[in-house]
Assembly symmetry: C3
């Protein structure tokens, strides 16, 4: 894939300063780019890299353009320009619009125009796939599930019965949507745990991305809901009946228990744990590996845990942590004595 | 699916107060239920919701029945009644008892009566499937594995060679049972890690549920054991040679290292980490995201970590945590001075 | 599988003291071994177990051999001997060198000598598989991917387009290599997150093991790199553009964010979180469930978090933790007063 710099400028609607005929075959970071690659200056802090870059062109802000010896594309948001230019060099295979003969598709499934179904996929009865949906190799889509137009499931995704996925979703390999929520009730007479059937489903909005190995459980007393524009990274766990507001972004390995309501435009994770049955308002940011052990009622940034320490110092600190309550009492005692 | 309230009362063995002909087509929470839905009063704290619920009937304790304007079913354990009534409205597709022609099944596999095997599943040599076992689409069951009667593997489960699963197990999509435990030994002469073959297997008891994406490794010097009635949520990791006692319940994203012995009737997780080669007695409860870094010899509730804080306060606390040992010494110094 | 003790001694190059005709059919721990099993004394601390073991032979150090009533194999590294002897009793099915007829393989894929492809696997165009590669049932290998000689993918592994895996790799079920890194850029004008296409790939070295359910994302501005001899346990997450140095060992459920550089010969995890865009030098050890929130510039052992406590004590400590900054100020105040 080779593009002329002038064509890129035109497609992105950016001002070009330099030779429009320069050929670009890819993108790279400033420090690593070589001839034929387009790069980016995301922050003035890295302006010195401009001097020595071997990139053939760079996207930067107007105010950073002066020093630059190579052709530039002027953007007031180079990171957003990056997102757009990268699509031009994306090598992700395009769905071919074919139903592979090895796929097993129920006669009662309804497939929209230009649907692609990969090898060895299974689509059960009464499933509806919107136009241009792409179901990867080895995927399973259970009875009565719905996938909206333009959505793409990569290989080996599992979608249980009755799950609803909106339009333009991207679901990565190994994701499991609609498995049973984790619900058991002790029957002490029989000394065993009785399974609570998870009779509700999962409803996922439009423009959602779901990472590899992420699991979203079906609900017991209400649907699990993932709002429009939500982005879930890899290995995220979403418990039954939980609701995630629109445009919230959740990083890898975050675990969310059941029946919790998370607001919109939150930034969570990774490795965060969120307990069940709490509420988090809009625009909350939670730093990595925090345990959210109670509702959050005000927007802002929240954390838990301790900082990284050499283990020998840490060992002394955790001993101190265990005695903190005692320490506070002793300080109070010293203060009381001092006041006499 | 529509049921008459009188029939539900009869099936659950509950006293009905109200019209037995009321039609019920589903269940819902008190605050969300609409006409035709059956709801539940799990706690007297929510009695006020009874006034305005649109549910057509409610299951509650005798002592909560007086205020109620709608038909009631009397239960001394509404949560257990919920578990039972939900089975009546469960839409999970029932196994059809067919072997799909696209499944690849070794001639030396032994299949019991009424076994279901979904599309594109693979069952290797000498596998034994008990009566009524259901193997979902895309599952893999390796050489010599055993699955007991009535067990169900949803789509895309992987079971390695020699693994044994008991009766009435439920295994959700993406689960992997019997992959190699993580064992390497440094060969310093060759400056490399040498793999320790994991020659033992995994033995899973009866009535076990295994969540989506959960992984249970095979053992190196003994079998990994999961006791009867154990419930594992999604994305749990069970290391090689670890033993989990009967009826223990482990929530999502908990990671258990190898050769650890966990007792019976424990409640663990989610997001808990448990190190290797320790022992946890029966009836231990471990709160979310705790690191269990030593054996637990007494039943009770255990925790680690810190509470949720606004990040600006948390940053000061983690600085203090790093200096805790010094702080304790200073307090000791103040106390000594005070005693002079 | 039965071997004579003399033959085992010869194959491992170990000195035998005792009857070479003793038959050995397996290995087990000293305390659990029965007749026909070979065991190990890894540490002198367990020498008393030698008295009562029912093992038919034991591998131990010269200096531990005197007490022993049963045949012994002398090794100056019994753990390494264990790794080697275990291969003799490994029941993992050997690849049969057949391409299963149900596998879907592009005509433009290139398969080396003695490649095995299991049932219902999918191999897309221009994929290259080296000699003796084994692709398990239900695996997906995307366009243009490369798998080096002698590598083995167990069932239901997903490898995206363009991913490169070295020689002698072992990849366990449910692993996903090359899914999109998690990259979005807010477009505030449109109030939505714009996806940054992840146009780079994943490059994995030789002799790498990748655990069940582990996910390794493709890069946005550079390839994600996993060095030679790296061992990743189950459910590890490796973010886009991250680099892991040779022979580093990472335990289960560790999450590594994007663009981070980890050195060689590190020991990390399990359950560790490592933030993005940091650097960790060689030979760093990180204890379980630590959050690595900054670069580590010196080798050594690092930790975060707190120790395990009974929950009632822990609750008081987390209250103290929240007030640590205040406590330090109060101690400073007491000290200042004392100095007057």
């Amino acid at each position: 894939m080779k593009l002329k710099l002038g064509d890129i400028a035109e497609q992105l609607g950016l001002e070009l300063r330099g030779d429009p005929l320069v050929e670009i075959h890819g993108i790279a970071a400033l420090g690593a780019a070589t001839t034929g690659e387009l790069s980016f200056l995301f922050s003035p802090a890295y302006r010195t890299l401009l001097q020595n870059t071997a990139a053939s062109a760079v996207i930067l802000r107007e105010q950073d353009a002066d020093d630059c010896q190579i052709p530039v594309l002027i953007s007031d948001n180079p990171r957003l320009a990056w997102a757009r230019v990268a699509t031009l060099f994306d090598s992700t295979p395009t769905p071919d619009g074919r139903i592979h003969p090895s796929a097993v598709i129920s006669e009662t499934a309804s497939l929209g125009a230009n649907v692609t179904v990969g090898p060895n996929a299974t689509i059960e009865g009464s499933v509806t796939l919107g136009a241009r949906v792409c179901v990867g190799a080895g995927c399973f889509i259970g009875e009565g599930a719905f996938v909206g137009a333009g959505s793409r499931l990569f290989a080996n995704v599992s979608v249980y019965h009755g799950v609803s996925i909106g339009e333009r979703a991207i679901v990565h390999s190994g994701a499991v949507i609609g498995a049973d929520g984790f619900g058991f009730e002790p029957d002490w007479a029989a000394m065993k745990m009785v399974k609570i059937p998870q009779v509700y489903g999962v409803v996922i909005g439009d423009d959602v991305e779901i990472g590899a190995g992420t699991t979203i459980d079906r609900g017991a007393l209400n649907d699990t809901m993932v709002g429009d524009g939500v982005k879930l990274d890899n290995q995220v766990q979403v418990g039954h009946g939980t609701q995630i507001g629109a445009s919230t972004v959740i990083s890898g390995c975050t675990a969310i228990a059941g029946s919790t309501r998370i607001g919109s435009y939150c930034l969570i994770g990774g490795g965060v744990g969120i307990i069940d049955n709490i509420e988090i308002v809009d625009q909350v940011e939670v730093t990595a590996m925090t345990l959210v052990s109670r509702s959050i009622t005000e927007k802002g940034r929240y954390s838990s845990g301790t900082g990284l320490l050499p283990s020998r110092i840490w060992k002394r600190s955790i001993v101190g942590f265990a005695r903190l309550d005692d320490l506070i009492k002793r300080v109070r005692g010293l203060e009381a004595r001092g006041q006499k």
